[in-house]
Amino acid sequence: MSFKVNNAAEPVLEISKLSIGYEKKPILKDLNLKAFKGEILFVMGSNGSGKSTLLKTLSNLIPPLSGSVSLNGKELKDFSSLGFAKEISILLTERPNLNSMKVKEVLALGRFPYTSFWGSLGSKDENIINEVIELLKIQNLINKNYDTLSDGQKQKVLLGRTLTQDTPLIILDEPTSFLDIPRKIEFLENLKFLAKEKNKMIILSSHDWDFALKASHSLLFIGKDGKYKKGFPEDFYFNKDLKEFLINEGFNISNELSHDSTFKAGGLKIKLNFEDRVEKELTFKALDKRATFLKKIDNSFIISKKKDQPFLIQGTNISSTKINEVSEIIEYLSNS
C-alpha cells in the first residue's frame, strides 16, 4: 500500500509475487501487497474471484502456487503450527456442528495455542475471554448451548473464538454475511476498536461496498479476469472507470452528510473546499479514519477540489500541490 503508518513502521504482512489457486490453476497472479499494524484491509470481488482462496492462502490452509507471504519478515511456511496460531487467527464461512458445546467452552477453544496439555485455563486466559465477552456483549449467551443459537449469534460466538486467540493479525472470511443492519453497525464498531485501540491488523472479505467504505483503510479489489486493483476505498470512487460500477454495487454515501468543512485530524487542522458534496464526504471520511496515522504536529491545510479535477493541497508556508488520489493526500500529510 502506498501509505505508511509512520516513517519508522515496517509492514507486518508482506505479499510479493503471489499466485494462488488450486492444483496449478491460478486464480490470481503476481499479487504484491503490504499491510500494517492497525490497518483494516478489505478484500472485495464477486463470487469465485478468489477472495476466499486468498484468505486461505494467507491463513496457511492452502499453499501458494508461487511467490511469498511473510509476517514480520518471516515466511509463513517457516512458522511452526503452534507459532503460527499465535500470529494469525481466522473466522471461516463454514459452520461447525459443536455437539452441545457451551458458548463459554467455544470461546475457550481460542486459547488452544496457549494452554497446557490438559487445556485448563489460567487467569490470563480467563481475562482475555472475559474481555471478548464484554466487547461482543454476549454475556447473556455464555451458558447457552452453541447449537441452539441463531445464525447471527453463532457468527458472533465464532468471531469471539477468533478474538480469544488474541493474534496480531486477524483474518475474517465474509464476517457480515449473517448479520442484520444493527448487528453490522455493531460489528463495524468492534472492528474499528480492534484496529485502533488494540493495534490489530484485520483482513476481511466482503461483498458490502458501503461497509467497506465505512470501515476499511485499504481495499483490494479482485476482478473476474484475475486482475486486481488496490488502494483506498475512497479512491475507487474518485476513479471514473470504477465509479459507475461501484454505484451499481451499492457504494452509496448519500445519507449522513453532516460535518463542518473545518475539522481536526491527528494534529492537523484541515479545511475542505469542495464542489461536490459526496466527494467532500469521502475525503473527510478518509482523513478521519486515518487520523492516527497523520502527523501529530500543529499545522493547517486547505484541501480543495473541483469536480473531475485533481485535489489541491495548500499548507501554511507551503505552496499548493496537485494530488490525484486520497492515498497520496494521506502520504503527503504524514510526511510533509
Binding site: A85, N99, K102, E105, L109, F112, T115, Y146, D147
Partner: protein
C-alpha cells in the same frame, strides 16, 4: 483436572460411580447358582464366571462408548459409532477370516497355545476395523453430507456380511457354530485366563484416549479451524483411527458385534452433563458405557432361565432412546442432514 470440575458435575460423576458399583454387585450376586460365600462352588463361579463377566462388561461398555465418541468427533457426525459406521462389521469380517477363512495356518500348533489363538482373533478383528476406518476416512474427504457417511457404513456392513456368508458356505459345522455364537454378542466369553489381555489392552486404549481431550475439543471446530489453532491434524487423526480400531476391535473380537452402545452413550453423556468438553465427556462416556453394558447384562440375567441375547436387549433399549434424542431437537435434526 479434577479441581476444574464444577460441584454439580462432580456429584453426577459420584452418582454414576455408585450406580456402577451397585450394578456390579447385583450382577455378581444374581445368577442360576445361589450366592453363598461359604460355599466353595460360589467362589468358583465368582472367579471363573461372574467376576470376568462383570469386568468384561465394564471395560467393553467403556471402550465401545469411547470409540463412539472418538468417531463422532472425528467425522463431525453425531450419528457416528463403531456399529453404525460398519466398523464393527469390518471386525466381524476379520474374525470370520480368522475362524473360517485361514485354513492354511498351522492350526495344530496354534491350538496348543490358546493365547496365540486369542491374540490372532483380536488382531484380525483390529485389522478389520482399521481397514474400514481407513476406507471411511479416505471416502469422507470426497463426500459431503453426514447421511452419506452412514449409508457407506451400511454398505460396508452388507459387503462384509456377504463375504462372511460366502466363507460360511465353505466351512465346517463346528467352525460355523463357534462363529455364530460369537456373532450374537455376549460378555460371557472372556475366560479368567483371557482377562489379562482384555484388561491390559482396553485400559491402555482408554488411558490414551483420555490424553487426547484437548485436541479432540479443537477438532470439533473442523479441520481448518483446528489446523489454524496449531493442531497437527494428520497426527491426531491417525492416533484417533488407531485408538478406535484398538478399542472396538478388541471388544468385538472378545464379545461379538455389540450394537448401539457406541452411538448411544455419547448422546446420553452430553445430555446429562450438558457439555461438549471432552475433558468431562471422555470419563463420563466411559463410566456411562460401563453402566449401560452392566445394565443390559443385569436385564439379561433377570429373564432367567432363557438369558436374552445382549444385542436384543441393547437394540430394544437403545433404539427408542436414540430416536427420542434425534426427534427432540428439530434444529439439530436439520444439521444431521
Amino acid at each position: 483436572m479434577i479441581k476444574d470440575l464444577p460441584k454439580n458435575k462432580f456429584l453426577l460423576f459420584l452418582t454414576m460411580i455408585l450406580s456402577l458399583i451397585t450394578l456390579s454387585i447385583f450382577v455378581l450376586i444374581k445368577g442360576p447358582i445361589p450366592f453363598n460365600l461359604d460355599d466353595p462352588l460360589t467362589i468358583d463361579v465368582l472367579k471363573e464366571i461372574r467376576i470376568p463377566k462383570v469386568l468384561t462388561a465394564i471395560l467393553a461398555g467403556a471402550s465401545l462408548a469411547t470409540s463412539g465418541l472418538l468417531m463422532q468427533t472425528f467425522f463431525q457426525n453425531p450419528l457416528a459409532g463403531p456399529f453404525v459406521l460398519g466398523i464393527q462389521s469390518g471386525s466381524s469380517l476379520g474374525v470370520a477370516f480368522w475362524v473360517l477363512g485361514l485354513k492354511w495356518l498351522p492350526w495344530s500348533i496354534i491350538e496348543r497355545y490358546p493365547i496365540l489363538e486369542r491374540l490372532g482373533l483380536t488382531f484380525s478383528s483390529m485389522i478389520g476395523c482399521l481397514s474400514i476406518l481407513f476406507l471411511l476416512m479416505f471416502l469422507s474427504f470426497r463426500i459431503s453430507g453426514k447421511l452419506i457417511l452412514l449409508i457407506l457404513g451400511l454398505v460396508f456392513s452388507y459387503i462384509s456380511s456377504g463375504l462372511i456368508n460366502i466363507m460360511s458356505l465353505l466351512s465346517k459345522a463346528n467352525e460355523l457354530k463357534s462363529f455364530f455364537l460369537w456373532s450374537q454378542g455376549s460378555f460371557h466369553r472372556v475366560s479368567f485366563d483371557d482377562l489379562s489381555i482384555f484388561i491390559s489392552i482396553s485400559m491402555m486404549g482408554l488411558a490414551l484416549s483420555l490424553l487426547l481431550s484437548k485436541p479432540l475439543n479443537i477438532l470439533l471446530l473442523g479441520d481448518r479451524y483446528a489446523q489454524s489453532s496449531g493442531l497437527s491434524i494428520k497426527k491426531i487423526k491417525t492416533a484417533l483411527i488407531f485408538l478406535t480400531a484398538i478399542l472396538s476391535g478388541l471388544v468385538t473380537s472378545f464379545c461379538g458385534p455389540v450394537a448401539f452402545l457406541g452411538v448411544l452413550v455419547p448422546h446420553l453423556a452430553r445430555k446429562i452433563f450438558q457439555t461438549g468438553d471432552h475433558k468431562i465427556l471422555l470419563p463420563a462416556v466411559m463410566i456411562l458405557g460401563a453402566i449401560i453394558a452392566l445394565l443390559s447384562e443385569a436385564l439379561s440375567s433377570l429373564t432367567d432361565p432363557i438369558a436374552l441375547p445382549l444385542n436384543a436387549i441393547l437394540g430394544i433399549m437403545g433404539f427408542p432412546v436414540l430416536i427420542v434424542f434425534l426427534l427432540r431437537n428439530k434444529k439439530q435434526q436439520e444439521e444431521y442432514l
